[in-house]
Amino acid sequence: MSAPDTTSQPQPTDALAHATPTFTLLRALSVVSAVCGLIIVASYLLTLDRAKDNRRLASERAVVKVLPNAKTVKPFLALANGDIVPAGEGDPPTGAIRFYAAYDEKGRLDGIAAEGAAKGYADIVRVMFGYRKECQCIVGIGVVSMRETPGIGDKILTDKDFLANFKALDVQLNEDLTSLANEVKVVKHGTKSQPWQIDAISGTTITSRAVGKGINEAAQVLLPRLVPKIDRLEKP
């Protein structure tokens, strides 16, 4: 950019008037990068703990929403080989599914919460669902994140008839415990006849279906691994 200064500055700074030596360019860029690098690393370290706490609190809050009796919440991983291990720091191994065991105030296992996700109308809809072994059913759902159309897609949060689907949504396993006895299915508004069906909201079909699909896919994988070993989670 050694072209003549086109901005009509009355007195161009003398350093800008001539081409700058390469070393000066390098020095300027290095100093700027070093200063910026320091600022970024410092702020990362300063905010790291708070950000981690926030993320943990957010998922615990989501768990309490679907299992209101929960007092303490512990994260676990259901590994691809069927083992259940406490979730630690860092990325989970491939094929592992994260879930939360929720304990009531007396320290008894209240239920299990896990996340399902499926493509909705605008973006992925992520739902948290609560599972209780006594009824082998889903007892509540909450939305973790979505970008559905306000006033249409977000009815899944408020529509009472739709939420009533998740008071006792049947997710029993089949006899050899390899998959759900009946796939969780979203049906047209007003045609629900079985406890494993979800009655869609009319006019919000796509988002309703995403909720059902997310729950079905997560439950199909998680529950066969979890149910045989759920007694091991009894004590926190």
Binding site: S2, L25, L29, V31, V32, I40, T47, S145, R147, G151
Partner: protein, 230 residues
């Protein structure tokens, strides 16, 4: 922009630097800069306010650093260095918001990172901070940022009131209000933006016409006075 013009005149006072962006050259309604976040995040007043504060912080910090380093940065690499500086403060803001509230972070979504590409920030770094001493540059940037925040809240407030029947989350109309859903959808952003621009251009034209009429009257008086005297 009249930057070169104003630099011919006496340097503006710190107060003038500060108030410039608030109203006279408001970034949204006068300079029409930074439209992407203006239209995208203004679905509610609180989102607008947070976005405005985040942008103000990035703007002020970047302009300060650019101004401090302005004699050291060769012209050839200035855009690259400005972008690095701006990206740094955007990253800092990103971390800070994650530490303050995850809900807010979710609500502002990708737009925090997109502050890097907000032409308001680069524009002010290039057109003002690179030629102004640090205090004046920072004051001007804070003023511009607050002007930007004000405009965003003006747009976001109207959209929230009409589109959700609330203001800063406080319901205004009771249960029977049927929200205008279109206002919180993308077209609503354009409608409200256009509405404000229309209002300001009407006001400006009125003021202009008044000023014209007054000067014409003064001219007429002068002429008639001269005639009378003769």
């Amino acid at each position: 922009m009249s930057e070169s013009f104003s630099s011919l005149m006496a340097p503006p006072s710190t107060w003038e630097e500060f108030t410039e962006g608030l109203w006279k050259r408001n970034p949204v309604f006068v300079m029409v800069l930074g439209m992407c976040p203006t239209l995208a995040v203004t679905v509610s007043a609180i989102n607008s306010l947070s976005m405005g504060i985040a942008t103000t912080f990035v703007l002020a910090a970047s302009c300060f650093l650019v101004s401090v380093m302005r004699k050291m940065i060769p012209k050839e690499v200035r855009i690259a260095t400005y972008i690095v500086i701006i990206a740094t403060f955007v990253t800092v803001t990103d971390y800070a918001i994650q530490a303050i509230s995850l809900d807010l972070y979710e609500a502002l979504g990708a737009y925090i990172q997109l502050i890097v590409a907000n032409c308001l920030v680069l524009g002010r770094a290039e057109a003002h901070a690179a030629r102004t001493p640090p205090v004046a540059a920072t004051m001007n940037a804070i003023g511009m940022g607050l002007g930007f925040t004000l405009s965003l809240v003006m747009i976001g407030g109207v959209r929230e009131i009409l589109g959700a029947g609330a203001f800063f989350g406080i319901p205004l109309f009771g249960e029977h209000f049927q929200p205008w859903v279109v206002m919180v959808l993308p077209p609503g952003g354009f409608f409200v933006m256009a509405g404000w621009l229309l209002l300001f251009s009407i006001l400006r034209r009125r003021a202009q016409m008044k000023a014209d009429a007054q000067s014409a009257e003064a001219d007429a008086l002068k002429t008639s006075g001269a005639c009378h005297g003769a």
